[in-house]
Symmetry: D2
Subunit: 133 residues, 4 copies
């Protein structure tokens, strides 16, 4: 799960704003797609994880916007796990248009059960490798 | 619940698109706000209804876009129930900027329980007038 | 441009709502993606069209929601032009999850210049086939 | 413009996700509303500023999510300018539900003209106090 994952994203018209560029809030959805696909590439299934009552929640997000993306741009998102502790899962993101670096970001996730109790992340990730009961 | 409800909405920057106007998808969120507030004005509480395991789902939507809304416009939404049958709850919406009619719409909702079974709407609305058990 | 176009869409987490399904407003963004890709498949480039000061605006939308889509579903959108007149461009949409038909929709677009003046659509589409001056 | 501004926000259904809480991307739109209203309270008009060809762009965002917000929650957003230099305008945000602090955030904005050239922010803010030519 620690390798870098690369995802191609086509900018939707609905993601632009009146300045003609992608609204800064939508990058967080791009990064979420990166997490989903990184997890899938490592053999995980985040939807199945939620069906079992385990949820990753975003605790912190930092995003630096270097250059704007436009409608119909074809972007490349590189997502990787930068840190894994008992309580936190951290990701780094770099979003490119060709060679141009548009956005960099970092997130911290925590894992909770359906009552909101914090779960130990290494155990959660380990158990996800076993088939669902 | 059958009277018309009036709601004031300030257009957010994030709702605009690269044409400089509100993206046509966001009007559906405005109309949803109209339904919530119309329901509240009639003594209902849609959140409490969902907490009891009853959900309104949108079965059909028609929207006519006459004139566009811009960032920071102050809009007036008029929402009313146009029809109530055993299976369907229908609403009509008219969105204004001052005297200008910008958008008109019509929706059909159905009521389901948490397993997706259709519930009779008049009974649901009647039971909502009684205090939660 | 009149043939049917097929687009695969992976449902994003950010498109779901508290009912656990895709919020009904997001389907309009899916359909817009279908229009963009149908246009591209026919040799058009909607972004270049806007750069030349011509814009398609949504005049009417009807959507029927048959079954809900969930996070991480892999959907197939089929988009086609159902009617082309001097003033209007109409599309039909059918959204599937495998063989299940989830949503059907119909839209009417008009073409305007940057001052909002209505343009004749057949001429616009014809001129788009010539190289940009 | 440096005082704190308080804005009341009702959570929309369309802002929730399948976990039942507000999706973490939507807080950025809340904070943008806070900036608009703080600016208005200080006598500014961000829409008029854009009409004159000056734009604030988000260069950096950090958000800490302490507790989640739910559909229909009535939230209080407190927005203030934390720093103003020649090149950057920084804001701090605290979002509450009653006395509970849900989210804190910090943003850095830059000012550009319509060609993307950086403009000196104090001059921009000063000129905005003069009537539009």
């Amino acid at each position: 799960m620690s390798d870098e994952h690369e995802l191609t994203i086509r900018v939707r018209y609905s993601e632009t704003d009146a300045q003609g560029f992608v609204h800064h809030s939508h990058y967080l959805s791009y990064f979420e797609m990166g997490r989903t696909e990184l997890f899938r590439a490592g053999g995980g299934d985040y939807r199945a994880m939620e069906d079992r009552g385990l949820f990753f929640v975003v605790a912190q997000f930092t995003c630096r916007y270097h250059k704007p993306a436009r409608y119909d741009d074809l972007l490349t998102l590189r997502t990787r796990v930068s840190k894994l502790s008992q309580a936190k899962l951290e990701h780094e993101y770099r979003l490119y248009r060709g060679d141009e670096l548009l956005t960099t970001a970092h997130s911290v996730l925590a894992c909770v059960d359906s009552e909101g109790n914090i779960k130990r992340i290494p155990e959660v990730l380990e158990s996800l490798k076993r088939p669902m009961e």
